[in-house]
């Protein structure tokens, strides 16, 4: 498994990582969340030795990651980029070779992955001739061509259309079933909720939440209430521990502190008018996220 322990990195006065620590098991898909500037990209770069850490260690199966181990990893950096004038197939095969594939293996794996990613017919095109979405697919092929044991993808869903999202999500799930450890960052929290069992949320270079998504939601100190009352719509105002999350079509979504008495709240709603809906539930992942990184 991948283990990151106590990562520290400072750029001048800017603290990028401040004790960041978590792990990813083989066969697990971990969603890596955090606001912009929280340290996600620096963490991912550290896995590939692209950042000289001030402190901390990155290990794979308990051993520090050396160059040979790293060749068994697949990476999709935040900054996308391929050689624009090389053809897709040449390029993907070249990255395969860099990761230690023999020439014929590299060619075969390239054909296979390009076909799976729907780029089979564009393999002879130069990268610069591809659409944005297809460039993204080529980038993925470059990360997957050598069948890595660990996949580290920085915002892999950014810029994909809904079909592309579905395709990639299916592919990551399939890789995880094949025993690959998958770590990806995203701001699309619904997607993370659907795809991952576990999420790691970082802020200010530190892990603020880490666990199975269901447990993270349950462990929240807030509860969420969706209420529709025909009558006085402002009935919930000025009640301690209650705040508005959203209001649409007469339905209000409220966030309640842990100690708010639900019975009292129901009584108050009844007094305000006829209750059409009263749903009580744990937070969504995106609400958990917002609670965790509240500034």
């Amino acid at each position: 498994m991948l283990r990151l322990a106590d990562l520290h990195k400072r750029y001048g006065d800017v603290v990028a990582l401040d004790g960041c620590a978590f792990g990813v098991e083989r066969g697990e898909i971990v969603g890596f969340l955090g606001p912009n500037g929280a340290g996600k990209t620096t963490t991912m770069r550290a896995i590939f030795g692209l950042v000289a850490l001030d402190e901390g260690s990155v290990t794979w199966d308990g051993r520090p990651i050396d160059h040979e181990t790293r060749l068994r990893f697949g990476y999709m950096p935040e900054e996308r980029g391929l050689y624009p004038r090389m053809t897709v197939a040449d390029q993907v095969a070249w990255f395969g070779r860099l990761h230690g594939l023999a020439p014929d293996e590299a060619t075969r794996a390239t054909d296979e992955w390009l076909a799976r990613l729907g780029l089979g017919e564009r393999k002879g095109s130069r990268v610069e001739e591809l659409s944005h979405g297809n460039q993204q697919r080529a980038q993925l092929a470059a990360a997957l061509v050598h069948s890595p044991e660990l996949l580290v993808l920085d915002e892999p869903f950014a810029g994909l259309d809904p079909l592309g999202v579905e395709n990639l999500a299916g592919l990551l799930a399939e890789r995880a079933r094949a025993g690959v450890a998958v770590l990806f960052s995203s701001h699309q929290l619904d997607l993370v909720e659907d795809l991952c069992e576990r999420a790691v949320i970082v802020d200010h270079g530190r892990v603020v939440l880490d666990g199975p998504i269901g447990e993270l939601r349950k462990a929240s100190r807030y509860r969420y209430l969706e209420v529709e009352v025909v009558g006085d719509r402002a009935w919930w105002r000025d009640r301690p521990g209650v705040s508005l999350v959203a209001e649409r079509d007469g339905v209000v979504r409220l966030r309640l502190d842990g100690d708010v008495d639900l019975g009292e709240l129901l009584d108050a709603a009844r007094r305000a008018g006829r209750i059409e809906r009263f749903t009580f539930e744990p937070p969504t992942l995106s609400e958990v996220f917002r609670e965790a990184v509240r500034r």
């Binding site: 391929l82 004038r85 070249w94």
Partner: protein
């Protein structure tokens, strides 16, 4: 050499050789070299400059005269003769340039184009003939007459002066300096642009996930250097073949006198400047900034080139000093070697100095490259890069 280094080298070599820019620039260079070498002999042939002297004679059989002229004329000259029935026909032939010169009973007919050397030779031949005739008329013993004529013969010896050798060598030396300068600057720019493009395209992060920085740098220098040598060889071969076909005889000699030194010094000079250009490229993120970053290097490599041009006028001391300075030796030393006025110890000093400098440059510039090649954003100044290097003592040097 590691496999990743060779993979990087091969990619740079193959992709560049496939690029339109490379093909066009090589084509243009070939055309220029071929044209430059082929043009003078071709023009000479078209315009009709030839070295055969044509002599017209009235009445007599021209052969004895032609033989005598050929004997007196400088080695390698050829002479043709033509017989005319009378002086008027001979005069017309001279006027119309059918012959360079015509001999009548009364005079030697020439026009403005007649080579003056030919006139003098014909005069001397006629003088000798007339001397012999006159001696016979005066009743001189034939043996005395023959010795009288023989006394007029003064042997001619062609001396190849130091000046001419010096001139040919100066040409070769100048050519060496130009070739080294152009090659180092051109291929250095390729390295520079290659490094900056990888940064600007953002592909460098993905590559460095699988390749160590020194492998990427070394592979790039190896691939582009090999392509540079290939291009130089192509141009040299085209030059020699053209020279052979067109008959510009001294070009192969010049190239042969340069070849050994130029190849060794090219490898040294390119190696040195390639790492420096790569380090300069790693300090910027956009192609537009690349030339600014490389400006100090281009200035540095200009110095020996300017000295090379200037030393053609004879300032040997400056050239000597410059040829011993490591950064300048790769251009100035092959120039002095071609000029032929260099002591072995000087070559040794320049060679060792350059090799040591390369070793230092590979360490320092290689670390600047490794530390900055992933950095994007604004341009990093060289001073800042060096300060950071000193402070950190170590950079992202990975297992």
């Amino acid at each position: 050499m590691s496999a990743p280094l060779l993979l990087v080298a091969r990619r740079d070599f193959v992709e560049r050789i496939r690029s339109r820019a490379f093909q066009i620039s090589t084509g243009v260079a070939l055309l220029l070299v071929v044209g430059f070498i082929a043009a003078p002999p071709l023009i000479a042939r078209i315009v009709g400059v030839d070295t055969t002297a044509r002599i017209g004679i009235v009445g007599e059989d021209p052969e004895p005269l032609l033989d005598a002229v050929e004997e007196l004329a400088p080695p390698g000259s050829t002479v043709e003769g033509e017989r005319f029935p009378d002086a008027a026909a001979a005069r017309k032939a001279v006027e119309e340039d059918e012959v360079d010169l015509a001999v009548t009973d009364e005079a030697i007919l020439i026009d403005a184009d007649t080579p003056r050397g030919l006139v003098a030779t014909v005069q001397a031949v006629l003088a000798r003939t007339r001397l012999a005739e006159r001696a016979a008329e005066l009743g001189l013993d034939p043996a005395d007459a023959a010795s009288l004529v023989a006394a007029t013969r003064v042997p001619v010896e062609e001396v190849t002066g130091d000046d001419e050798v010096g001139f040919a060598r100066a040409g070769a030396a100048f050519a060496a300096a130009v070739v080294m300068f152009v090659a180092i600057v051109t291929y250095g720019q390729w390295i520079l642009v290659g490094v900056v493009e990888e940064k600007a395209n953002r592909v460098v992060e993905l590559v460095l996930g699988a390749v160590r920085p020194h492998e990427l740098l070394g592979g790039k220098i190896l691939g582009i250097g090999a392509l540079g040598i290939l291009q130089l060889l192509l141009i040299a071969v085209a030059g020699v073949v053209t020279a052979e076909v067109a008959g510009a005889a001294d070009v192969p000699a010049i190239i042969a006198s340069l070849a050994g030194g130029v190849v060794v010094w090219f490898v040294l000079g390119f190696g040195l400047y390639a790492v420096l250009y790569a380090a300069a490229g790693s300090l910027v993120s956009r192609t537009e900034e690349a030339q600014n970053a490389a400006f100090p290097l281009t200035m540095l490599v200009m110095v020996p080139y300017i000295v090379a041009v200037a030393s053609l006028t004879g300032d040997g001391d400056v050239a000597r000093i410059v040829s011993l300075v490591p950064f300048w030796a790769p251009i100035a030393m092959p120039m002095r070697m071609a000029a032929g006025d260099v002591a072995p110890w000087e070559v040794g000093v320049a060679f060792v100095g350059t090799v040591v400098t390369i070793a230092v440059a590979v360490r320092v510039a290689g670390r600047i490259y490794a530390a900055n090649v992933l950095r994007t954003g604004s341009k990093t100044s060289l001073l800042r890069a060096l300060r950071e290097l000193r402070r950190s003592g170590r950079v992202a040097d990975r297992g």
